[in-house]
């Protein structure tokens, strides 16, 4: 029994030493193998990719969606000193500016790929409503007015006869004049205007009438007309009739409050009633309400 044990013991330790040497040599040899030997190429190396989107709540915060392929670990460098190792990421930047974001995607075989993208952060401006410029709003003629020098060319519509101009405007300047009903066909003052959709506006103009019962009317049309004949069936956004008889030269304010719909393409039209005397219009403006 003892002998056998001894022999076995000797044998065992010999084998052990040999075994260690064998394994040791194999392990060491492996280090000197060419990398390709006994392994196959990484056929699916990582491909880094991401998209960035600005948060609604805070313009300085961006969400990053990771679309990398064949990768297991990720390192984000947000370009502001912050980093992350999550799959998707969120970063809040200190300030406006341009930042370069780098995503390094790596697989477990030590291969990696980087993807870089730049974002420029600017504080979004609160949407401001268009304040339209109205051609010849004060009915003054001049070298560059309405392309022709005649202020009335800003206000014409086919099928309607244009107002006359007069020196009896507001504050002693020129203005528009509507003749009395008996002496001529109805005169109209029309202009197409572009404003912002779904926005509240105030149209202001000044009018003067000389006889009780006379009127000057301001209308805002949803859409733009190609002929005066379309006016009677047009969809209206607002209309106000001015009937305060202040006498010639004494102008009263005419206000039409209106709100645009889907389209900002609108038009304004002024005309007079079946007036006994001449009536006047001047100084038209449209401004966003509030």
């Amino acid at each position: 029994m003892n002998t056998i044990k001894q022999i076995a013991g000797i044998n065992f330790s010999k084998f052990l030493v040999a075994g260690c040497m064998l394994f040791g040599l194999t392990a060491c040899d492996f280090e000197y193998d060419l990398p390709e030997e006994g392994s196959i190429e990484d056929l699916t190396p990582p491909e880094a990719s991401f998209t960035a989107s600005q948060s609604d709540a805070d313009f300085l915060t961006y969400n990053f969606a990771n679309f990398s392929g064949s990768a297991t670990t990720y390192v984000w460098d947000f370009g502001d000193g912050n980093t992350a190792t999550t799959v998707d990421a969120v970063n809040t930047y200190p300030d406006e500016g341009t930042y370069t974001i780098t995503l390094t995607a790596s697989d477990a075989l030590g291969k990696s790929d980087t993807f870089t993208s730049e974002i420029t952060i600017v504080e979004p401006e609160a949407p401001t409503a268009i304040t339209p410029v109205i051609g010849a709003a004060d009915f003054q003629d001049g070298p560059d007015v309405c392309g022709s020098g005649d202020s009335r060319d800003c206000w014409r519509i086919s099928g309607g006869s244009i107002h006359q101009t007069t020196s009896d405007g507001r504050n002693g300047t020129r203005g528009a004049k509507y003749t009395a009903a008996s002496s001529n066909s109805p005169r109209v003052t029309y202009q197409a205007v572009t404003v912002s959709p779904n926005t509240k506006y105030i149209l202001t103009a000044y009018y003067a009438i000389q006889s009780d019962g006379d009127t000057v009317r301001g209308t805002v049309i949803d859409g733009q007309l190609s002929n005066y004949s379309e006016f009677s069936s047009a969809s209206l956004l607002g209309q106000t009739v001015g009937d305060v008889n202040g006498g010639k030269g004494n102008f009263n304010r005419l206000v039409v409050e209106f709100e645009t719909g889907a389209s900002g393409e609108i038009s304004i039209l002024f005309d007079s009633g079946s007036n006994a005397s001449e009536s006047y219009l001047d100084d038209v403006s449209i401004i966003p309400a509030e």
């Binding site: 990719s49 990771n66 998707d88 779904n198 889907a262």
Partner: protein, 457 residues
Amino acid sequence: MSCGDDFLEPLPESAVSSESYFSNDEEIESGVIGMYDAIQGINSNNLTDNFSIQREYYLTEMRSDNTRTKSSEGEAAQFESYTVTASNGIVSNYYISFYEIIYRANLVLSSLDAASPEKAASFEAEAKFVRAYAYFNLVRLYGDIPLIDRLIGPLEREISYTRVATSEVYNLIVSDLQTAVSGLDNTYKNRASKAAAQTLLAKVYLTQGTNYAEAQTLLESVIGSGFSLEPNFKDVFYTENNNEVIFAIGYTSDLTSDSQNISAEWLNSVGRTSGVNYVTADAREALDNLGGSRTPYSYRQDAAQPTQYQVAKYIPNGDANLGIAPTASNPELAGNDWIILRFADVLLMHVEAILAGGQQTSATAAINSFQRVRNRAGLTTPVTSITKEDLLAERRVELAFENHRFFDLVRFGAAQQVLSAFSDANGYSFNATDLLLPIPQREINLSNGLMSQNPGY
């Protein structure tokens, strides 16, 4: 016939495919009905049958913060935990079902030469509506997808398996819907209509984030077309073809061939599952806070398992407490129509179009539409301005469990933020790549290398 040149891979051989298969109006009409049959899906638990929209809630509601499975088991639970695999059978079933719809629409379109001059335009409009509807869901769920706009033959592998950019898919959707808007009227609710096409086109524009003004005009046209909100929210789901419905898929009770098992599966151990589309705590909280009188008809406690909550819309076997009568003698053969588009959606999209991508609006038209939806829910305190966040929250409670939530989150640009937080709170594993489903592995295998997978799968 099925061995002929026009046999269409990978679409099922059960449908005969041939140019001008239909030879007169009557036959084309049957082809038109066949399109809706494909949307309706087969009432079955066999995964080789096209379930079509009958399993759509897995891909939409259960993939959002609204619902989950009752017991988090199996393939069904991959959706809630954001661990969907490319071999998921429900993902593949929906994909095949929806290409079947497209195939049937293309079949109608290929037969237009055989139609009488009076009917040709309306057949075309109807088929294009259906095709656009199917592509719109597919492109939102799967991203870049094969674009098949005609009947194709078995050797046209390239078109069957080449994924085209979403923008190209949207081009077809928009042009199809434009044709549908001009060629349809408002005769039907269970078939395509002008209002349905206008509503869907507006939704497409909102999804693309373009043409807000056109979207608004389309929606205003629908608003002016005689639809109205049902005074009682409950009636929306339990009175068929009510005045709020714009487009619904019709089902008939107790007929295996024409019924649905959508909502039977939402019950406790009725049907094949132990219960799916169960309401999350997150959705209950939203409904409790913002739902108003909608809440009791949106979710209810599970009588058999009081810690769990079920959807209360489309209950097939009635609920005496809620005053809802059974719609079928067997809940698995339910006849409740499935609403795809309804007027409340139109009103809320109207607000969205006016917001036009902005953060806030106080435009009168927007306030009016928003207030109409809230007034019906008993929330009559006047609203003076609406933020994008308000609108998303309102859509969630108004349209809960109607397969809108996931698409809304994506369209509002809120999906990554909201679903990351929801996933973290529940120990799920959401990543941004989960916003697209995988292309079914089966398609990738059949494509022989033509098709690539979405990132993250």
